[in-house]
C-alpha cells in the first residue's frame, strides 16, 4: 500500500469516522428502516473515502452528512418505500439528542416526556414528508445551524427555516391531538 494511501486513511479515520453516528442517525431517519440505513452508511463512507482527497478540511460532519443525504436520495429513488415498510423499533437502540442535559436544565417543564409521547413523536417524525424530516433531524438531533443544513440539503437558508417551521407545526398539532385524546 502506498504511503499516501496510509496517511489518507488515518486522516479519514481521525476526521470523518467520528461522525459515523450522525451519519447513521440521518440515514436511519431518511430510510426509515435499519437494513437500508446500514447499507446507506456503508456506501456513503466508501464514497467519502473516495472523495476525501477533494475535501479541503473544515466541517467534516456537514461534508459527510451531505454525502449521506445524496446517497440516501439515490438509494430511496431506486427502492420504493412501499417495498420497505417501517421495521419494528422495539429493539433498536435510541438515545436523546446530544446536549439534551443542558436543555433539561433550561426548560424544566419540557423535560418530562412519557414513553407514549416519545412513541407518538417518533411516528409523527417518520410520517413527515422527506424534505421536512431531513431538516428537522439535522436541526434537533444534530444541532446544526441553518447555514450548515442549507449546505447539506442544497437549498437556501430561508427554505431550511420554512421547512423546519412546517415540520414543527405538524409535530405540534400531533402532540396536541394526542394530549386531548388521552
Amino acid at each position: 500500500m502506498p504511503l499516501s494511501t496510509a496517511s489518507r486513511n488515518s486522516r479519514f479515520s481521525a476526521e470523518v469516522l467520528p461522525h459515523g453516528g450522525a451519519a447513521y442517525n440521518l440515514a436511519r431517519w431518511l430510510s426509515r428502516n435499519e437494513t437500508d440505513a446500514r447499507d446507506i452508511v456503508q456506501e456513503s463512507l466508501a464514497r467519502a473515502l473516495q472523495y476525501f482527497e477533494g475535501f479541503r478540511g473544515g466541517d467534516a460532519r456537514s461534508w459527510l452528512l451531505r454525502i449521506v443525504r445524496n446517497t440516501a436520495s439515490t438509494w430511496l429513488v431506486s427502492r420504493p418505500p412501499a417495498a420497505h415498510p417501517d421495521q419494528s423499533e422495539a429493539d433498536e437502540p435510541l438515545e436523546p439528542a446530544p446536549g439534551s442535559g443542558a436543555m433539561r436544565d433550561a426548560d424544566p417543564l419540557g423535560a418530562l416526556i412519557s414513553q407514549d409521547q416519545a412513541r407518538v413523536l417518533r411516528q409523527a417524525i417518520a410520517q413527515l414528508p422527506l424534505e421536512y424530516r431531513e431538516v428537522l433531524v439535522l436541526r434537533e438531533f444534530e444541532d446544526l445551524a441553518y447555514r450548515q443544513i442549507a449546505a447539506i440539503v442544497g437549498c437556501p437558508i430561508g427554505t431550511v427555516m420554512s421547512r423546519l417551521a412546517r415540520a414543527r407545526d405538524e409535530l405540534g398539532a400531533r402532540m396536541r391531538a394526542e394530549a386531548q385524546s388521552s
Binding site: 500500500m1 494511501t5 496510509a6 486513511n9 488515518s10 479519514f12 479515520s13 469516522l17 459515523g20 453516528g21 447513521y24 442517525n25 436511519r28 431517519w29 435499519e34 437494513t35 440505513a37 446500514r38 447499507d39 452508511v41 456503508q42 463512507l45 466508501a46 473515502l49 420497505h84 433498536e92 437502540p93 435510541l94 438515545e95 436523546p96 439528542a97 446530544p98 446536549g99 439534551s100 436543555m103 433539561r104 426548560d107 417543564l109 419540557g110 423535560a111 416526556i113 409521547q117 416519545a118 413523536l121 417518533r122 417524525i125 436541526r139 434537533e140 438531533f141 445551524a145 441553518y146 427555516m161 423546519l164 417551521a165 414543527r168 409535530l171 405540534g172 402532540m175
Partner: protein, 254 residues
C-alpha cells in the same frame, strides 16, 4: 418591529440563528406581545420534548466495528480498494466477454449454448464493472439480512474469516432471468463467487453442470443444506474442490 415582522423571525429566534440586531428587536417585541410569547412557549415545549426523548438512532455496534476495521490502515486498505488492487486478469476477462458475446450471437443462430456461460459471464462482468459488490461486508449478520430483504429466500452465508478464505460481500445477479444470491469471497488472490438458491427453483442447475473451463474460469456445482450451489472462480481445479468442501461444511453446519 411590528408583529408580522417579528412573527416571521420567531422560528429563527427560537433556534438562535438571528444576528444580534434582529435578536434584540425580536426580544423587544416579545416583551409587549402576548400572542408571540404564547407561540414561542409552545415551540419551546415541543423542542424540549424532541431533545429529551430518545429519538436519535444509535449506530449498531456491529456496524461501528465494521466501519472501523475497514478504514484502519493497519489492516490494509479498505475492502473496496483491496478488491480493486487484487489485479484481476482484466485483459483476459475482456477477451472472455468478447468471446461470450460471440457465443451469444452464435446462440441465436444455432440455438446451442455452452454450459456455464451465463455463470461465468456474471462473474466476469462483476469483476470488470464497478458493480462488483452491492453489499460490502465481511459480517454475515450484515450480508444475510441484506440478501433476505432482496430475495424470496434467505441463503446460508458462511463467514469463512480464516487466513485463506474471506467473505467480502454479496450482490444479487440475474441468471436465466431469475434473481440469485451471489456471495463473494476471496481465496488467496482469487475472487470466488458462490451462487446460492433453493433447490427445485429457477435457474436450472443443469446450466452449470459438467461445464468445461471457459478461458480459465471454472465452475463447480453442488448442493448444500437444501440449496443449489454454483461456484465460479479462476482458481485451479483442486483449489475449487477444496474451497467447495470448506464452504459446504460451514453451510451445512448451520
Amino acid at each position: 418591529m411590528n408583529h408580522a415582522e417579528a412573527r416571521a423571525l420567531l422560528e429563527a429566534y427560537l433556534d438562535e440563528q438571528l444576528e444580534i440586531g434582529d435578536t434584540v428587536r425580536v426580544a423587544a417585541h416579545l416583551a409587549e406581545c402576548e400572542s408571540c410569547r404564547a407561540w414561542l412557549g409552545e415551540r419551546r415545549a415541543l423542542r424540549a420534548q424532541l431533545r429529551t426523548a430518545p429519538l436519535r438512532y444509535r449506530m449498531p455496534a456491529a456496524l461501528a466495528a465494521e466501519i472501523r476495521s475497514q478504514a484502519v490502515p493497519a489492516r490494509g486498505a479498505p475492502l473496496r480498494q483491496r478488491l480493486l488492487e487484487m489485479q484481476w486478469p482484466r485483459a483476459l476477462a475482456a477477451s472472455v466477454l468478447v468471446g461470450l458475446a460471440g457465443l451469444w450471437a452464435g446462440h441465436a443462430l444455432t440455438v446451442r449454448r455452452i454450459a456455464g456461460e451465463e455463470w461465468v459471464g456474471a462473474y466476469v462482468r462483476s469483476n470488470l464493472g464497478a458493480r462488483s459488490l452491492d453489499v460490502l461486508s465481511s459480517d454475515h449478520h450484515t450480508v444475510k439480512p441484506w440478501l433476505s430483504a432482496r430475495l424470496t429466500y434467505s441463503p446460508p452465508v458462511p463467514e469463512m474469516s480464516g487466513p485463506d478464505d474471506e467473505l467480502l460481500g454479496a450482490r444479487v445477479d440475474y441468471i436465466e432471468r431469475s434473481a440469485v444470491a451471489a456471495l463473494v469471497y476471496r481465496h488467496g488472490k482469487h475472487q470466488v463467487d458462490v451462487f446460492v438458491w433453493p433447490e427445485r427453483e429457477r435457474p436450472d442447475p443443469a446450466t452449470a453442470a459438467n461445464a468445461a473451463p471457459i478461458a480459465g474460469f471454472r465452475l463447480l456445482s453442488s448442493r448444500a443444506a437444501g440449496f443449489n450451489v454454483v461456484i465460479v472462480s479462476d482458481m485451479s481445479a483442486s483449489e475449487m474442490i477444496g474451497f467447495r468442501a470448506r464452504w459446504s461444511g460451514l453451510a451445512s453446519a448451520r
